[in-house]
Symmetry: C2
Subunit: 412 residues, 2 copies
C-alpha cells in the first residue's frame, strides 16, 4: 500500500486524481500494491468535490505524515515548489513532478538529494507531456551516444504554426485563435518567445550530457517574427516552419538553441501538427528514433505523472540512479555553430541583387514567390552563424539591396 | 564486471560486437561496470576477425561457464534457439534476444523460467528493431489502459508500398528492387505475406493483455494483392496504403489482425516511409503516442539488444517482472470485428452498378480514377466484416456488376 499527496489541484492535479480513479485497478496491478491519495494541497476548498476531505492548506500536514510515501508536485513555478520538493525528498519521500521550470532550474540538485535519501525524483511529465521520453532516454537509449536531440516541445506554438501553414492566417490572428481556444495565455510570452521550449531542451540536453545545461545559457528565439510569407517560402522549399528546441553533441562540444526552422518534408518532425509534440533523437548506432504524442493537456500530462508514481512505488528505497550531475555543461558560442539559413532579400534592383547574392554567398538558386514584390529568397551553404552574419552584413551594404526581410534556419 | 556470450555471428550478432566495441565506455558507464564478450557461438570460424579467439562451436562451453552472466541470442528461428535460451535461463543466466519467432512462440514460458531463476528474459529488439517499444510498454505506459496498438512492423513491405505509392511502380517491380537491395529475401513470404508482422503484433498484444496472444490465431493478410490502382484510389481518398499489424482491446474483448489498410493523412502512421517502422499506442488517458525509428538493420537492432544487456546487468538477481502469463488470450472472431472498407467494383452497366451500391451499402460517394475503365470504388460504412461480406455477395449477384476487384480496410 502506497500513500500519495498531491500538491496543487489545478489542471494537472485534478487530472492526476482522475487518472488514479479511472484506472485504479490497472495502476494497483502495475504498482503491485494499492496506491491511494491521502492529501491534496491547495489554497482553495472544493466543497462537493470527491477530494474535499483530502484538502489541506498546510504543507506540514503532508511533510510530517510518515505514511506519505510519494509527493506529487503539480503546482508549477519555482516557488514554493522548490522548497516543498526539497523538504519532501529530505524527509525520505519520493517526488514526481510535471514542473519543467523546477526541473530546469534545480533538477540536478534535487536528484542528488533524492539519491542521498534513497528515494526518487521523477519528472516524466516535464517534457513532452504524455510522451514517454525521460524514462526512454534514461533506460532505453543506454547503448548509444546521442548525437542530437531535436524537439517540437511546445504545443501552443505548433498549433499556431500549423494553422499559419495550412490556412494562411497571420501570426496575430492565430494567436487570438489560440488564446480563444485556451491553448495560449493572455500573456503568451512563455510559449511564443520560446521560453517554455528552452526549459525543455535544457532538461533533455542535461540528460544527454549527464551534466547541467543551464536554460539561461541557451540561445532562444521565438516565433513572433514568422509571417505567412515565410511559410510560403518554406513550402516552396518543400518544408514547413516549426519551432525547434535542438541540442547537438559533437566532438565533446555541446550546443543548444531554440529557434524556428524550415523542416524538410522528409524529416519526421515535419509531420507533427497541431498541439502534438515530438522528440527526435539521433544515436550513433540507432540512427533516428522519434517519440510522438500529446505534449500538454490535463489527462496526457497526468498519465505521465501517474506512471512516475507507479515507478516510485515499485522502487521503494531504490534510487533509480538517473545520471545528471550539478557540474555545469559549458555550451559552444551559438555564433560558432554551423547552420544553413533561408534568407529573404528586399531589393532595389533585382539583377544586381541576384549578382550580389551569387558573389557573396555563392548561392545560385533564387526563390521567388508570386505576389511577394521586390523580394526573393535564397538558402545559404552551411557555415558558422558568425560567418553567415558577416556575409549578410556585406550583402546589406551592397548596391541594389534594400534590406534583409528575415532569416530562418534550415533543418535537414 | 559482466561477462557475455553471443549466440550467432550473423548480421545482428556482428552488430552487437560492433556496438559494444564502438560505445564501450558509455555502455560501461550505463551498466555501472565493464561488460565484456567472452564467447561467440557460431558454426563457422572467423580467422582474422577480432572475435576469432572468442569463437566456440559448442554451446556447452557457454552453458557450463559460471562466469557467463548474460546470453545474447541472435541466431533467429525457433530451433535450436529455444532449447539454448531455456537452458541458459535454467542455469541462472539472463537472456537478451532479437528473435521474434522465439518470443512469439515461447515468450510467456521463457519469462516464467526467468522469473523462477531470478534472472531476466529481455526482447526489446524483437519488435521494431531499434525503436524502444517493449520497455516503454512495460515501464512507461503503466497508468493507461491500452485501447489499441497499431504498427507498421515490417520495413521491407513498407519500403515496397512507399515505392509503389511515390513512383507508381508495380508490385512485382518493387519486389525485385527490394530483393536487389537486400531488403527482401529470395523467398519473400515472411515479409510480403505478413508473417513477420503477425509475430510482432502477437508480442505487442500479449504485453498489452498480459496473457498469451497466439500468433497462429491472428488473421493475417499480406500485400501481394495490392496494385498501383489501389494506391491511386487511396490517394484520391487522401490516404496511403500501409501494411498494419493491429490489436484492439474493447470491453474486455481482444482482436488482432495483419492486413493492408488505407491510412488517412492525419494519422501519424501515414507519414512513416521507406524501411522505417512505427508503433502507435492509444491509451485511455494518454490518447495517441507513437514510437518511430529503424525497424531493422544491423546496428539499430544491435543497439536495442545491447540496451537489454545493460538492463540485464543492472538488474542482476532482480527479475523485472514483465507481466505476460502463459494463459491463452482468446481473440474475437475476425468476422465480428467492425471495419470500413474501400471496395473496387467492376461494372457491366455503370448506372445500375451505382444504384446497387446505393441500395445495398447506402454509399453515395463514388470514386472514379482516370484511366481505370469499367470500374469505380466506394467506401462502406463501419460494420462487422461478416456483414460487409454478405452485402458484397449481394452486390456481386446484382445485374450490372461484373466483379469485386479488391477490398481494402480503411484506417482512421
Amino acid at each position: 500500500m502506497a500513500v500519495i499527496a498531491v500538491l496543487g489541484y489545478g489542471t494537472v492535479g485534478s487530472g492526476v486524481v482522475e487518472v488514479m480513479n479511472t484506472n485504479r485497478e490497472l495502476i494497483q496491478s502495475k504498482a503491485e500494491q494499492p496506491v491511494d491519495i491521502k492529501y491534496v494541497l491547495d489554497l482553495r476548498d472544493f466543497p462537493g468535490d470527491p477530494i474535499q476531505n483530502m484538502i489541506t492548506h498546510n504543507y506540514d500536514d503532508i511533510l510530517n505524515d510518515p505514511e506519505v510515501e510519494v509527493v506529487v508536485e503539480v503546482m508549477g513555478g519555482v516557488d514554493p515548489a522548490y522548497s516543498f520538493v526539497k523538504s519532501a525528498l529530505q524527509s525520505g519521500k519520493s517526488v514526481c513532478t510535471s514542473n519543467k521550470e523546477l526541473v530546469a532550474a534545480h533538477g540536478a540538485e534535487l536528484m542528488r538529494i533524492a539519491k542521498e535519501n534513497n528515494v526518487n525524483f521523477l519528472f516524466e511529465a516535464s517534457v513532452g507531456g504524455g510522451i514517454p521520453i525521460i524514462r526512454p532516454i534514461n533506460r532505453s537509449i543506454t547503448s548509444d551516444r546521442i548525437e542530437a536531440v531535436t524537439g517540437i516541445l511546445n504545443g501552443t506554438t505548433n498549433y499556431m504554426l500549423t494553422k499559419m501553414d495550412t490556412e494562411g492566417l497571420d501570426y496575430e490572428d492565430v494567436l487570438k485563435d489560440a488564446q480563444a481556444k485556451g491553448y495560449a495565455e493572455r500573456n503568451p510570452a512563455a510559449d511564443v518567445e520560446g521560453y517554455d521550449a528552452c526549459r525543455k531542451i535544457a532538461i533533455l540536453a542535461s540528460l544527454a550530457t549527464e551534466k547541467t545545461v543551464s536554460y539561461e545559457d541557451i540561445y532562444t528565439e521565438g516565433i513572433t517574427n514568422i509571417s505567412t510569407t515565410d511559410m510560403l517560402y518554406a513550402q516552396k522549399l518543400g518544408g514547413i516552419i516549426k519551432l525547434l528546441g535542438k541540442a547537438g553533441f559533437e566532438d565533446g562540444r555541446v550546443w543548444a538553441r531554440v529557434a524556428p526552422a524550415v523542416v524538410s518534408s522528409d524529416n519526421p518532425l515535419s509531420m507533427v501538427s497541431d498541439v502534438f509534440n515530438a522528440i527526435l533523437l539521433k544515436g550513433n548506432m540507432l540512427g533516428d528514433v522519434m517519440f510522438y504524442g500529446r505534449g500538454a493537456g490535463k489527462l496526457p500530462t497526468a498519465s505521465a505523472v501517474v506512471s512516475d508514481i507507479v515507478d516510485a512505488v515499485r522502487h521503494r528505497n531504490i534510487n533509480l540512479g538517473i545520471k545528471w550531475s550539478e557540474e555545469k555543461q559549458e555550451l559552444m558560442d551559438i555564433d560558432d555553430v554551423k547552420v544553413s539559413k533561408l534568407v529573404r532579400v528586399e531589393y532595389a534592383q533585382k539583377d544586381s541583387a541576384i549578382a550580389a547574392v551569387g558573389n557573396i554567398f555563392a548561392a545560385k538558386d533564387i526563390i521567388e514567390l508570386e505576389g511577394a514584390e521586390d523580394e526573393f529568397a535564397f538558402v545559404t551553404k552551411k557555415a558558422s552563424e558568425s560567418e553567415i552574419n558577416s556575409r549578410l552584413e556585406e550583402l546589406l551594404n551592397t548596391d541594389g539591396i534594400n534590406g534583409i526581410l528575415n532569416t530562418i534556419r534550415m533543418e535537414g
